[in-house]
């Protein structure tokens, strides 16, 4: 059975300068990449630049995908770093997380804490600054330096906030257990 070609197959096409394969990959990935980047940076121009940079990088070095894991994860790794470097070039922008901008309705908060149990509740109790650090370092896998550039704060603040956030999470979770 001939299904639609996999991302990895299309990437081989891109290495062979197939613009059609490139277009298909763009259609598959540009949307969610842009959305996910926009949750980390509220400047849509920078997000657009980062998406462009990501696909240009893909066109130039498709073989840097080593074939292990998902093409999507590889692309995200490129995209978040391109965003960081775009932000570094424009340090005056106010990088902010989408979640710290929009406050969930009270009933949603309640539902979420039920749905995700203690960890969700513990995360929700963190200050926006600490949540942002946790998201950048723990969930996005950025280094402290990259996170600092993304969030436009000194590296030392990232380290302090991360330390405090961990301590607070540990405490909240221990509280829930007892």
């Amino acid at each position: 059975m001939e299904g639609p070609p996999s991302d990895a197959t299309l990437l081989v096409g891109v290495a062979e300068r197939d613009i059609g394969a490139f277009r298909t990959l763009y259609e598959r990935h540009a949307g969610w990449l842009a959305l996910r980047l926009a949750r980390r940076c509220n400047d849509s121009e920078l997000v657009a630049d980062a998406v462009q940079d990501t696909f240009v990088a893909m066109w130039q070095k498709p073989r840097s995908f080593r074939g292990d894991g998902d093409v999507a994860a590889w692309l995200w790794g490129i995209a978040i770093r391109r965003l960081v470097s775009r932000i570094r070039r424009r340090t005056d922008i106010a990088a902010a997380f989408g979640i710290s901008e929009t406050v969930p309705a009270a009933e949603d908060e309640v539902l979420l804490s039920v749905e995700y149990g203690d960890l969700g509740a513990a995360l929700a109790r963190l200050s926006p600054e600490m949540r942002a650090v946790i998201q950048a370092v723990v969930l996005d896998g950025l280094s402290a330096k990259e996170a600092a550039q993304l969030l436009n704060v000194p590296v030392s603040s990232v380290k302090t906030r991360l330390f405090r956030a961990r301590a607070q999470l540990r405490a909240t979770l221990a509280e829930g257990l007892s």
Binding site: A30, A34, Q60, A72, I99, Y116, L119, Q135, L139
Partner: protein
């Protein structure tokens, strides 16, 4: 792969960015691995009219960015030896480098050299007639606006014409002279470099003449005169005599004098500009 997928309600909250950290993180980790949910995120983001960026516009820009042509090998070589990149581009677009002219000239010289090799010194006059003038014809053609569409905007640019012409000439010679040199090896009895000085001399004459007339006319005239001269004297002198020391000195003087004329009259290079 688990059977778990992002449910519609969570998807909506994610796209509208009203989710919690934990929820968002689960969606994001899942989306990296699940093609189906990835497509759903794309669709939901587009349908909800919440698209943060204009993806079509970004696509156009991306296309534009990847289609900037890589500089040619020749252009990169010029840049590597210190020619500013915009000048390297101007030199590299000369039609002479599209290869057609070079191949034509090389073929003629090769035939001449082969004829000389097969027919002995009796045919050497033909090489003598063709090889030294080939580079100046090539240079002239590279300046003729009828053959080189790139020349017109190039000459219209506010760029010192003299410098431009010299750069292009050097570039054309860099390609033509090695061919002359190489094919000179095929001709028996003469060191190959003896062909270079006449060739450079004729190029200088053509450049000097182009301050009065169209360079292609100049080159054709010079070539024809040389051809006739060689043909007429082929019985009176041995063809190799032309390449001996005193003739070489004469060519050197000719080249130097012509070059002086060219530099002095550089501002008359209007013949290089397209007519009309």
């Amino acid at each position: 792969m688990t059977g778990w997928h992002v449910d519609d309600e969570t998807l909506r909250r994610y796209v509208e960015r009203i989710d919690s950290v934990a929820e968002g993180a689960s969606v994001e980790q899942h989306v990296l691995r699940c093609e189906r949910c990835r497509a759903r995120v794309n669709t939901a983001a587009a349908a909800a009219d919440l698209a943060v960026v204009d993806l079509d516009a970004v696509w156009d820009r991306t296309r534009g960015a990847i289609e900037v042509p890589r500089p040619s090998v020749f252009e990169r070589l010029l840049t590597a030896v210190g020619v500013p990149s915009d000048e390297a581009r101007i030199v590299a677009v000369a039609s002479a480098f599209h290869g057609v002219w070079l191949v034509g000239v090389a073929t003629v010289i090769a035939f001449a050299a082969l004829a000389a090799k097969i027919g002995g010194t009796g045919e050497l006059w033909f090489v003598l007639a063709v090889a030294p003038v080939a580079p100046c014809l090539l240079v002239a053609v590279s300046y003729d606006w009828r053959w080189d569409p790139a020349l017109e905007p190039e000459m219209a640019t506010p760029y010192p014409v003299l410098r431009l012409v010299l750069l292009r000439t050097i570039a054309v010679l860099a390609l033509a002279l090695p061919a002359v040199l190489l094919l000179g090896l095929l001709v028996p009895g003469q060191p190959p470099f003896v062909w270079l000085l006449p060739a450079v001399g004729f190029v200088a004459v053509v450049l000097a003449a182009s301050t009065w007339i169209n360079p292609l006319n100049a080159a054709t005239t010079v070539s024809a005169a040389w051809f006739v001269a060689v043909w007429l004297t082929r019985r009176a002198y041995s063809p190799t005599e032309v390449l001996e020391a005193r003739t070489q000195v004469a060519f050197l003087v000719l080249a130097a004098a012509s070059f002086c004329v060219f530099v002095v009259r550089g501002h008359h290079l209007t013949q290089l500009r397209p007519r009309g």
